[in-house]
Structures are given as C-alpha cells and as structure tokens.
C-alpha cells in the first residue's frame, strides 16, 4: 500500500509510545486499586477490599460529599454568570471594554494556580479574622470564580454558531425580548450551557492547589484529603478513591462530548 503524502517516518511509533506512556500508569493505578492484599507493593489477587474500606472511612465520605457539593454549587454559580457574560459579549456590535471583559473572564486560565491560591489565602485570611466567618463561602467563591472561563468557552462557542435570525424571527412573531430568550435562545443554548456546567463541575472537582490554600480546618475536599494521605504514606485506599474519581471524569467527558457533538 502506498503511504499517504502526510507520512513522516518515525512519527507513528512515537505517537504509539506516547499513548502507551499516557495510559500505562493510569491502567496500573486502577489495576492496583483492585488489589486484595494489604500491601501496596504486592499483588495478592483481585478484590474490592479497598473500595469498601474507603467507603467506610468517614473522612473519605465527608470529603467526597463536600467535593461533590462544592463542585455542584460552583458549577451552577459559574455557569449562570458565564451564560450571562456570554450573552453580553457575543453577537452584538463590538463595544469599548469588550477586550477587558475577555481578559477578566479568561484570567484564571492565565495566572498560575499557586499565585491565585496565595493571593486568596492573604485576602480571605483578613476576612476570616475580621468577620470571624470560617465557613464554606470562601471555597464557593474561589471555585465559582476559577470555573467561569471553563463554563464560558463552550457557551460562547455555541452562541456564536447559533443563527441570529432565529431571534429576529421570534421578535417578528410578536415575542417580547424575554419571551424570545425563554422560547428560542435558551432552548437552543441549553446544550452549550450543560456542557459548560459539566466542564465547570470537573474543574472544581479536580482542584487541589487553590482549595488547599483557601480551606479552613475540617474542610477537606477529596483531592486535598488525598494529598494529605499521600504526604504521609501512599496507600491502596488512595488508589481506590482515584479509580472512582477517574471513572466519574470519564463519564462526565463522554456526556460532554455527546452534548457538544455537531449534528450531521
């Protein structure tokens, strides 16, 4: 068979090696999480022992619930404000300050996490002392903020691919601006909104650095709990938690792909 014109020698083997290298560690991690034995280093047969143990661990349960709760709240908040911002910054005549809005919204993508984390630590420390409030509000604020660009980008992409004449047609057919949004814009935008919310959810769920610096005592999320465990001793329990998180991520991603796939 003749080679296609785009063939470059050695590229395919390197690509295969890269895919193997990307997946082998994850596969082994998942594999070891099903280890029946006590010791991480030795394979002693298949078992769900560590999943059961993780499930019984109150700290794991608490931090899992906290993680999911935080991710859900942050995803909803960031998606709502990102949807509004996307509606405000697309499909209208360019206005002064639009670049400023873009830079602000994408700011969390540009600044290293550790820098934002430290800045929030400083800022919130002052509030914690002054107000005496130590609750989850700080984490909610921080997560909602850094999830905004992740929610914004797919929503904006969807909006830009939407035919503006549909809304013109709705207005022509006596729909008020609000009715146009509710009956036409929103239903058509919904897949983009859900996709954005999903990315925001995964982003919040994955965060380690900012959470470590912002959380108060007893506010461990699943990732910070895992980090704390790893600092002491890597255990199979952490592998089991990782496997569950990994599974959740893959499920969310498949759903995201299904939502954003072009119909044709």
């Amino acid at each position: 068979m003749a080679r296609p014109i785009s063939h470059l020698p050695g590229f395919t083997p390197i690509a295969m090696a890269v895919f193997a290298a990307l997946y082998l560690p994850l596969v082994i991690l998942v594999f070891y999480s099903f280890n029946a034995g006590e010791d991480l280093a030795h394979w002693e047969g298949f078992g769900l022992h560590w999943f059961a143990k993780a499930w019984e661990n109150d700290q794991v349960k608490d931090s899992t619930i906290r993680s999911l709760w935080l991710a859900a709240v942050a995803a909803v908040i960031s998606t709502v404000v990102a949807t509004m911002a996307a509606l405000g910054t697309t499909r209208r005549a360019r206005f002064k300050g639009q670049t400023f809005i873009y830079v602000m919204i994408n700011q969390p993508l540009m600044v290293p996490e550790i820098v934002t984390a430290v800045a929030l630590l400083i800022f919130f420390a002052w509030f914690k002392v002054t107000l005496g409030y130590q609750g989850m509000g700080y984490l909610v604020l921080a997560h909602s903020a850094f999830c905004i660009p992740f929610a914004y980008l797919p929503i904006r992409a969807r909006l830009e691919s939407m035919d503006l004449t549909l809304e013109t047609a709705a207005a022509d057919l006596y729909a008020t601006p609000f009715a146009t949004f509710r009956r036409v814009t929103f239903p058509l935008l919904l897949p983009g909104i859900l996709a954005g919310m999903m990315l925001a959810f995964v982003t919040s769920l994955d965060d380690v650095v900012i959470t470590v610096f912002v959380k108060s005592a007893g506010q461990d999320t699943l990732p910070t709990y895992m980090l704390g465990q790893i600092r002491r001793q890597v255990s199979t329990e952490v592998y089991a938690i990782s496997t569950m998180l990994l599974g959740l991520t893959v499920v969310m991603l498949v759903a995201f792909m299904a939502l954003t796939r072009k119909k044709d």
């Binding site: 022509d172 057919l173 006596y174 239903p187």
Partner: protein, 353 residues
C-alpha cells in the same frame, strides 16, 4: 386616499458606520405601498432593498425619515409590536420546534386561546398543503416544504403586511417556478399586502402588481411591470430589467437626430442630448432600402427559440435585435451582410440622465 396606503416610507435614510466611513444604504427614499397589492423591491445586491424591508419590519432603525403603517407612525416601534411578519431568506425556522409549533409561535405570543391557535394552525397548514407534516421537526423537511412552513408561520397571525426577503433564492429553478405561482395564489386568497424583495427581474415581472426598482440606495422607478419594462425612466432601469439597446441622440425640431445622422420619433423631452432606448424585440430587419437605418450584421447568436442579431449602425453604435427563429433554425442572414433596420412605432423611449 390615505385609506388605500398600507406602508408609507417618507424620506427614509439609513446609514451604516460613523463619520467619514458612513455608508448610506438608503438615501432619502420615499415610497407608498398600496393595500392588498403585491409589491416587489427589485435591484442588484447592495442596492438597499433588504435594508428597506428590515426597516419596515423593525429589525433596524432608520437614521432619518418616517415609516407609516396604515397611517400610523411605526418608525421606532420594536418588531414585536408591529403587525407585520417576515419570511426570511434562510426561513429561520425554529429547529427545536415542530412544524405546527413553528406556525403556532406568533399566535401564542399574541396570547390567542389554545383552541383558536390550533384551529388557525390547521387552517394555515391546509393553506400551504402541509397538514400531513404538522408533527415533523423542521430539519426533516425539504427546502420547498421549509419554505411553505415559513410562509404559514408568517401568515398565521394575519399580518397587515407580509414581508418576503428573497424567499425563493435557495430553491432550484423548477421549485422556484412552482413557488412563484403558489405565492401569487396565497396573496390573492389572503388579500394581504405582500412586499417582496428580489434581485431576479423575471420573478419581479411575473408576480408583482407594482415594482420599485432600486439601485445604490435610491428608488429609481416605481410602476407596474408593463410600465417599468416599456417605459423605463432611466438607463439603470432600462438595462437592469430585460435587455435593451441605447442610442445616443440630439433633440431637434422634428424629432431626435441619432448620431448616425438619421432623425427618428420618440416622446418629448427637455434635454438636448438624450439617450434613446429600444428593446431587441421591437426591432425589425427589412430590406436595406425600406429600413429607418442601414446597418451591417456583425454577429449572429442562436438561442433556440430566437436568434440574436448583432448589428452596427453607420456611426459604429452596436444594437441587438431579437428575431424569432424559423422552424429550420436558418435565419438566412449572414455576418457582414448589409440590411435595413426598422424601429416599431412608439417603441423608442427617451431616458432621463
């Protein structure tokens, strides 16, 4: 008089951009569209016809001037408060709604009762012969069917004026012919004023009661298809609608002297130097001695039903005559041959410059 006018545009201006770069899409356009007529805005792309339509619909605001609907000022009303509906070039059917839901949309927005809405939807779908597809998603329809849904949707709220923005341009030739007849039928059945935008002169001539010819933001001429075709006011209208010949001439006491020296008769005019125009089918070829002008044949092009005969006048002016092809296709004419040209009486028109 004012009772019979549906849309009145008065000194309408629309500028895009600011300051130095401002472009006038419409430059002082005044126009009356009568109730119940099929009015066509005809012109090349960029002439301002779609802009005028969008101003009537309320999708854009004019930079100056007034638009009246049934005598009431609607210049600054938003589109949802104007009893005017549009059939869009892209149809703009709501992809998340069924055919019936699309047609019901305007009625629901007007707050009609459920029974009224469903009765009216059924009536409209019957009118456009789509009753059997009511539950379909619009993406499952053919282009022609989508076109019918768009029409039914725009007609359902019984607008005072229906605006159609090049609605047939996406259809193939055969379907376009069908829809032209269909549109005319709908207009007669509903009695609604249609304002139709197109760049296709044939479409305009066959469907319209009256045509407004536009070019570069100006209304060039308004009149019935026959008026526009037989008595074009200026060079643009004459050349944009159908094919024509231009003959430069000078006014004299007894008529107009063509540049080749021959004097011909045409309607009176104020100007000294004028351009006369005559359609190719209004020219006759006769033996050289019997013609108004002696000409030389420069080219013959066979078009099936007719043959185009290109000729040059003694001063070099080129003219084209359209001759019906004989049954054997042989016109008996030859390139290089000298022949006489006769202008049919009353066919020569004088153009304003």
């Amino acid at each position: 008089m004012s009772q019979t006018i549906a849309i009145s545009a008065q000194n309408v201006i629309k500028a895009f951009g600011h300051g130095e770069h401002a472009v006038r899409a419409l430059d002082d356009v005044s126009l009356d569209i009568r109730k119940g007529e099929f009015f066509t805005l005809l012109g090349p792309s960029g002439c301002g016809k779609t802009t005028l339509l969008r101003l009537i619909a309320g999708f854009e605001m004019p930079s100056g001037g007034t638009i009246l609907l049934d005598g009431a000022d609607i210049t600054n009303l938003p589109p949802n408060k104007r009893p005017v509906n549009t059939v869009f070039q892209s149809y703009a059917l709501f992809p998340h709604l069924t055919v019936a839901q699309n047609v019901a949309f305007g009625l629901e927005m007007l707050g009609k009762s459920k029974s009224e809405v469903s009765a009216r939807v059924a009536e409209m779908l019957a009118l456009v012969k789509l009753d059997h597809l009511a539950a379909r998603k619009t993406s499952q329809l053919s282009g022609g069917q989508q076109q019918r849904v768009a029409l039914a949707r725009a007609l359902a709220p019984q607008p005072k004026v229906l605006l159609l923005d090049e609605p047939l341009s996406a259809l193939d030739l055969k379907l376009r012919k069908e829809m032209q007849i269909e549109l005319k039928r709908l207009q007669l059945e509903t009695g609604i004023t249609f304002v139709f935008v197109t760049h296709d002169q044939e479409e305009a001539l066959t469907m319209s009661d009256r045509i407004g010819v536009m070019s570069s933001g100006h209304l060039q001429q308004v009149g019935s298809p026959k008026e526009i075709y037989t008595r074009p006011r200026n060079r643009f209208v004459a050349s944009f609608i159908g094919e024509t010949n231009f003959l430069p001439a000078t006014r004299e006491a007894l008529g107009y002297r063509l540049d080749c020296g021959i004097v011909v008769q045409a309607p009176a005019s104020q100007a000294q130097r004028v351009t006369l125009t005559i359609r190719p089918e209004q020219l006759r070829l006769v033996p050289e001695a019997e013609g108004d002008v002696p000409v030389k044949i420069t080219n013959l092009v066979y078009f099936g039903t007719d043959t185009h005969c290109h000729m040059s006048l003694p001063d070099g002016t080129e003219v084209v005559a359209r001759l019906q092809s004989p049954s054997d296709g042989e016109s008996g004419l030859q390139v290089g041959q000298g022949i006489g040209l006769r202008f049919l009486p009353g066919a020569l028109q004088v153009l304003e410059e």
